[in-house]
Symmetry: C2
Subunit: 221 residues, 2 copies
Amino acid sequence: MPASSDQIARKRAPRMRDPESTRQKILHSAFLEIYRRGFQAASLDRILADAGVTKGALYHHFPDKAWLGYAVVDEVIRDHLLDRWLGPLAKGADDPLTSLQQAFRIRAKSVQPHEVELGCPLNNLAQEMSPLDEEFRERIETVFDQWREGFTDAIERAKARGIVRKDVNSRQIATFLVAAAEGSFGLAKNARSMEMFRSNMEALAMYLDTLRVPSRLRGRA
Amino acid sequence: MPASSDQIARKRAPRMRDPESTRQKILHSAFLEIYRRGFQAASLDRILADAGVTKGALYHHFPDKAWLGYAVVDEVIRDHLLDRWLGPLAKGADDPLTSLQQAFRIRAKSVQPHEVELGCPLNNLAQEMSPLDEEFRERIETVFDQWREGFTDAIERAKARGIVRKDVNSRQIATFLVAAAEGSFGLAKNARSMEMFRSNMEALAMYLDTLRVPSRLRGRA
């Protein structure tokens, strides 16, 4: 791949002049290293080598390895994950339940081999770090909360439109959906099976149909 | 607690005479250490101290740390987990779907604080070790397979009795249930919430109702 003009510009500019770009490079390399090896086994030396920055630059931006890890959750994993799962819910406001089903079906189509091999980066960190580091646990919980809130909101909107039954507990179902999605990553990761992940996403989409007001009652609910 | 006669007998007998008891003590201590800290961070010294055995005894029974870990999966985690999840399915053969719902509701009641803090030991090992060690991955997969098979069998029996709809894909649903159960442990672990775990178990039990043949069709399906 030929170097882009952006890459050339970056090479020409002295590093000191673009601290935000350096910070982003460190975060991106740290995300990859933590995703591949877990947080505890992640090597700062490999992160520095991959990012092409000095130890001094790293410590200029992050006080220590833990804070680098927290920033990976707050600034890399969160946006990426919420975009993926909540992005499809903004559209198709006519039927928020169908949009939610779409979110699972899109995820079934978009899943990449490395995601089946390595799992969900948020879930990995939750399982590894939540018993060991309260700062990690709280940051991860904030992301899970926002994810659940997005799903709860979609189900509530579907209830308001008479699409979902009034007796459905939106928050309970939203929490269940997030758990099932993360469990699907976890099971597919051990099975090394994209097919299993896709089958689970479809099972979730079909499950959502069971929340619908039967069509003969639509409008009366 | 007063020492049982078994414990007294064990103390009197020289260790060499009861290699199976030594092996079990090592396995139990290894299980606890791995559950608390993960496999990679588990310390053989702590396992030996907890089991009260020498390094020589350990290496007499297990060639290395990895094989000790494999034995923990094969001999401790598997039986415990399959007992818990598949035990309730043996009973109540009249309505295998209700037995399956019971398995989730019993789990909701029986869950212990340390399980919410530390998660499911099988899921923890799967997330940590499956990308790193093929032997671990395959052993863990064997347990997941048996778990799925037990659920598949219950759903198939319910189909044969006209309780579950014929169009239900038993294996797909069984896989989904296992993923959702493991995801529920994972999410509750990060949230430190028994309530969340219980709510997810109830959501799964309610979900199973949606697989039933509507009662007016029972017998005709």
